[in-house]
Every structure is written in structure tokens, then in C-alpha cells.
């Protein structure tokens, strides 16, 4: 084997320029593919986090039918044993209660339909960290705090600042009228632009009072330890809770548009990568055809003097493998500093581009993500391309007619 490795290694450097061009094509294809995947996965994660970590959480428990008919009449009573039961499931850190509804928000000059979210000021700190999103003012001082936190875009629209008052008008539980005037104690910037345009936070107690939905919840948001265990957690919860009363939904079910947007973008990315690899694949195949044709006589001589065709095929395969390994290694190493830079310095979209992002409900930022999975998958794709391209020369050698080859 050592002899074959030696011959293969020397063979690939017989035509240095051609080998370097082949390796360079693999390098650039992989380099581009890795950076592209890093940007894509980073952006998807950022988009998902913008919704999941900042608002919906990974899993929510509702009253059955709430998601399709989001009214206060579809709330459920917050029984302490429910929270205890849910928190006993593996991988669930805590169950965070919420009461969500809609209201008309007014400052006198401006009025807008908004989302009102009643939160547990302490428990919410473990999941969505609203305190960290404060850009002005302060967080709720306690469960009975009567103030509101207003999202920054909404505050801008309503021309609100800390210390101003906000009037909320809505319909409460079982048709009761809901109205209240609340002091603005803080302005928060939500990472999801859509939420940032229309959200107001109250404490859970205040929200329940506003809507006359005492001890009622629209959702129990679950803070989970390992998002990869989503399916298992959901299964465990299903076994634990009465499905006639409750519905359990993960973030993908609650955000189908986002999932579709990510998927369609991802498919677009795959098509781009497929085209890139197709070009590289044909380039590699062209090199191999040239290499095989040029060395036809040499192959004939080697078989004539006693080398089995299979062994010759092995040498050719090793040559291809060497080129692939060098190209893949160069591509991976070359992409690392670029991806590392983009992970730490996400691209900030400015101007009209930023507006376009926001119009789709996304934060105008393109972070990269370092994930071993795409390094492995893209490297494997390149190796598979080489393996497929190697079929041609190996097949040619196995079918080689010594006499014709010696005469060539």
C-alpha cells in the first residue's frame, strides 16, 4: 500500500498547474459553501431566537382550541399542581404563566391595536429576559406593579416616553369591558421587528385584573434545557396532560410562516450550492478525463508488465482522494477565520435593505453560526463528488485494452 500511496502522491504532482487548479476549484467551492451555510444557519437561528427566546418559548401549553381562536374565553385556570406536574418532566426548567390579549392603545393623539402580554415579572426573567431589552426606564418592581413596558417602535408611534400614561381599551373575560390607564415605566426593544411594533407588557396580576380574568392564563410557556429534546418533551407532556383540556404546541407549530420562510430560503441555498458543486464536479471530471487520456499508454505498460487493473484503479482512486483531501482541508481551514469573524461581527444591514428585512418581520442583521454539522456535510459532499468523478477513470482502466493502450 505504501508503494501505491507514493506513486499516487507523485502522480498528482506530475502536472502541478493542473493539480493546483483542481485543488483551487475545490477550495473555493467549499470555502464559499461553508461561509454561505454559516450565514444561513446563523440567520435562521437568529430569526428563530428572535421569536422563540424573545417571546414564544420552545413549547407552550394552552387551553384546547386557543391557538385557532385566540380569545380570553379560551383561557384556563392556573392551578399550582399543573405547573408542578409540567416542571416534573425531564428537561423542563420552569413553566412561565402568561395572559395575552389584544387591546386598543391610546395616548390621546394616536391609537393603535396592540398585543397585551401579562407576565410573571420574576419567572419571565429566566426565559425572555425582558429586563435586558430595556432601552429606557426600569423593569417591574414586583408582581403587583401597575406600570407597563412598551416596545420601542410602538412607543415611537404613540409618542410615549417613560412617565407618560397609556390608555388600554378592550373586551375582557366573558365579554366584560376592559379599560385602564397605566404609567409607562420602561421602553423595551424586542428583537423581532413585528413584535417591536405592537407589544405592551403588564404584570400577570395587572393583566388579569384588566381583563377580569382572575387566575386565568392563555399560555404556560415552557423554559426547556435542551431544544434538541423538543419532540420527547412534547411526547412526555402529552402523556401527562389531558388532551381534552389542553393543547401542547412547539414553536414551529406556532410560527408556521417563519418556518416556511426559513425552509424556502434554505432550499434556495441548496439550489445555489448544487449549482456550485455541479460546476466544480464537471471541472474535476474534465481534469480526470484529461489525466486518464494522457496516461493511457502508461496504464497499458503497467498492465502489460504485470500490474492488475484493480490495483491500477486503486492508485487512481488514491490520487483523487489526495486531491480531494487537500482541497477540503484548504477549504475548511480557509473558511475558519472568515466564519469566526462573522460570528463575532455580524453583518448589519443598513438603509433600504434594513427596511426590507424589517418589512418581513426580521431583524436587519446577518450573523454567522459555527456548527460542525455543515463542516462535515459540505466536506462529505465534496468527497462524494470526487468519488463519483473517480468512477470514470477507474472504469476506463478496468476496461482498458492493453494492446490499444500501448499503441496510443
Amino acid at each position: 500500500m505504501k508503494e501505491y500511496l507514493k506513486i499516487a502522491w507523485r502522480n498528482i504532482w506530475r502536472n502541478k498547474r493542473r493539480t493546483l487548479i483542481t485543488i483551487a476549484s475545490v477550495f473555493f467551492a467549499l470555502w464559499l459553501a461553508l461561509i454561505m451555510r454559516a450565514m444561513q444557519t446563523g440567520s435562521y437561528k437568529h430569526m428563530a431566537n428572535g421569536i422563540v427566546e424573545a417571546f414564544t418559548g420552545s413549547i407552550q401549553i394552552h387551553h384546547k382550541g386557543y391557538w385557532n381562536d385566540q380569545t380570553l374565553d379560551n383561557t384556563f385556570e392556573f392551578l399550582p399542581e399543573i405547573a408542578t406536574k409540567v416542571e416534573s418532566v425531564d428537561n423542563i426548567k420552569s413553566a412561565i404563566p402568561r395572559l395575552e390579549s389584544f387591546a386598543l392603545a391610546s395616548t390621546g393623539e394616536q391609537t393603535k391595536g396592540i398585543l397585551v402580554v401579562g407576565i410573571d415579572p420574576v419567572k419571565e426573567l429566566d426565559l425572555t429576559h425582558p429586563d435586558r431589552k430595556l432601552v429606557e426606564g426600569e423593569y417591574f418592581s414586583g408582581a403587583s406593579s401597575n406600570g407597563v413596558l412598551v416596545s420601542s417602535k410602538l412607543a415611537g408611534f404613540l409618542r410615549l416616553s417613560v412617565g407618560d400614561t397609556l390608555t388600554l381599551l378592550s373586551t375582557g373575560y366573558h365579554g366584560a369591558s376592559a379599560a385602564g390607564i397605566f404609567p409607562v415605566i420602561g421602553i423595551v426593544k424586542m428583537p423581532n421587528p413585528e413584535l417591536n411594533r405592537r407589544i405592551v407588557f403588564l404584570t400577570l396580576t395587572t393583566a388579569q385584573e384588566l381583563y377580569a380574568a382572575y387566575n386565568m392564563l392563555t399560555s404556560l410557556v415552557l423554559n426547556i434545557e435542551d431544544t434538541d429534546q423538543l419532540v420527547k418533551i412534547k411526547k412526555d407532556l402529552t402523556a401527562l396532560l389531558d388532551d381534552e383540556i389542553y393543547e401542547i404546541m412547539d414553536w414551529k407549530e406556532m410560527n408556521p410562516e417563519l418556518v416556511q420562510q426559513i425552509q424556502s430560503d434554505e432550499y434556495g441555498g441548496y439550489i445555489m450550492l448544487a449549482m456550485l458543486y455541479l460546476i466544480v464536479g464537471f471541472g474535476v471530471l474534465g481534469t480526470l478525463i484529461m489525466m486518464t487520456t494522457e496516461r493511457r499508454k502508461e496504464f497499458g505498460v503497467m498492465i502489460a508488465i504485470g500490474m492488475q487493473k484493480k490495483k491500477l484503479g486503486l492508485i487512481l482512486s488514491i490520487e483523487m482522494l489526495f486531491m480531494a483531501i487537500v482541497g477540503v482541508a484548504a477549504g475548511v481551514i480557509g473558511s475558519l477565520p472568515v466564519i469566526g469573524y462573522l460570528v463575532n461581527n455580524p453583518i448589519q444591514i443598513q438603509g433600504e435593505g434594513a427596511e426590507l428585512f424589517e418589512s418581513y418581520g426580521f431583524d436587519p442583521i446577518m450573523p454567522a453560526e459555527f456548527d460542525l454539522t455543515y463542516f462535515i456535510s459540505q466536506s462529505v459532499v465534496v468527497l462524494v463528488i470526487f468519488v463519483l468523478a473517480t468512477i470514470y477513470p477507474v472504469r476506463s482502466v478496468l476496461k482498458l485494452n492493453e494492446i490499444k493502450a500501448l499503441r496510443s
Partner: protein
């Protein structure tokens, strides 16, 4: 002892839909230790006969028996193994493996045979010294002259200790001095190692040196002269 026994050998092939009878009913035997030339004008069937003797080409009919084996009955991979262990080849254009040194080229055959490193090293040194290239063992073919490359090719052909060596126009690309030198070496090795050498040639210098010359014409044996 008979090394090669050829009986009623025919080879017909088609060229642009025309039937070409390259070899027509040849009967020949070659004994151990012969130093023979197959001579004749271009197109007389020398190379075709040599290719069939080497198991590179199949006869249309007839039989080639080498040391008791009917070569044409062997499968492709068996035939390659048979060549490896029984036949040495010297080509007109040397055809050394360009990425290997002189030493590695000679060693390569023994490597394919699975011989040990000690055995390979000893035989390689012995052969390269015998062809006068003991000091050029680590040179690649591109650094050697045509004559030197052909001497390496002879050493390579002998490395496997074959029953016979087939040399197709081995001197065609060499000048007089290199030709004389190469023929002297091959004759010496023929005498010392008792290996049969069969040349396909139209080079008068080779025919002069050969102890037996088989003249072919139109695929038939015209005359068979033993000196």
C-alpha cells in the same frame, strides 16, 4: 528445454472493414537460453506475434504454450499474473514509470510479486550494476538518456526472473553506441541468467548479434536461421 511452443498460429483482424491476416499458420519453438530475433519488413507480423507471445493479444486460432500453459486460455487477471511471473517486456519507447526512480522502477515488478524488501534491494542493485547504472539508481527517467532508460527497462524486465524477455524494437530509438552497449548487456545477461531473449526487430545490428533469426513475411515464416 522448450520455453515457448507455437502451433499453427493465426491472427486476423479487421481494419476499415478489410480483413488483415497478420499471422498465418506459424509454427515455432523457442528453447531456454535462446537469444533470438524475429525479423522482417514493417507489417510482416513481428509485433503481432510478439504481442500474442506476451499474452497481450489473442490468436484467432492456434496455440501458444509457455512452460506448459496455454496462455490464450487464461482469463484477463490470470494472464496479467502470468506475465508478471513469466515474461519480461522491453518496449521501443522504454516506457518506464516516470514518477519512479531507476531503482524504484526495477523494484516495482518485484513489489507486485510480493517479494521482500531485502530480496528486492539485492536484486535491484545487482541488475542495475549489471546494466552499468549502479551510480544512477536514484535518478528519475527524465534525468536519464535514452540508452540509460532502455538499460533500466532491461533491468526491470529481468527483475521478476522471467522465463523469457520480449523486446519490441528495443534499439529503434538508440544511437549506434547505445545500441551496441545495450545488446552487449542483454547478451551477457542471457548467458549469465540463462534467460531467453526474443526480439522483434528490423535492426541489422540486433540480427547480427542474435544467435537465431526468424524471418517473417506476410505473416508467415520465410526462414529460420540458427547461427
Amino acid at each position: 528445454m522448450k520455453v515457448i511452443d507455437i502451433k499453427n498460429l493465426h491472427k486476423t483482424y479487421y481494419e476499415s472493414e478489410h480483413e488483415v491476416h497478420a499471422v498465418q499458420g506459424i509454427n515455432l519453438t523457442f528453447e531456454e537460453g535462446e537469444f533470438a530475433a524475429i525479423a522482417g519488413p514493417s507489417g510482416c507480423g513481428k509485433t503481432t506475434l510478439l504481442n500474442m507471445l506476451g499474452g497481450l493479444d489473442d490468436p484467432s486460432s492456434g496455440e501458444i504454450n509457455i512452460g506448459g500453459t496455454d496462455v490464450s486460455s487464461l482469463k484477463s487477471s490470470q494472464r496479467i499474473n502470468f506475465r508478471l511471473n513469466n515474461i519480461g517486456f522491453v518496449f521501443q519507447a522504454y516506457n518506464l514509470i516516470p514518477v519512479l526512480t531507476a531503482k524504484e522502477n526495477v523494484e516495482f515488478i518485484m513489489h507486485l510479486q510480493g517479494k521482500s524488501k531485502i530480496e528486492r534491494d539485492a536484486r535491484t542493485k545487482e541488475l542495475l550494476e549489471a546494466v552499468g547504472l549502479g551510480d544512477r539508481m536514484n535518478s528519475r527517467p527524465s534525468k536519464l538518456s535514452g540508452g540509460q532508460q532502455q538499460r533500466v527497462a532491461v533491468a526491470r524486465a529481468l527483475a521478476s526472473k522471467p522465463k523469457f524477455v520480449l523486446a519490441d524494437e528495443p534499439t529503434a530509438n538508440l544511437d549506434s553506441k547505445a545500441t551496441e552497449n545495450l545488446l552487449d548487456i542483454m547478451e551477457k545477461l542471457n548467458r549469465e541468467e540463462k534467460i531467453t531473449f526474443i526480439f522483434a526487430t528490423h535492426d541489422a545490428r540486433v540480427m547480427k548479434k542474435a544467435r537465431r533469426v526468424v524471418y517473417l513475411e506476410d505473416g508467415k515464416v520465410l526462414r529460420d536461421e540458427v547461427k
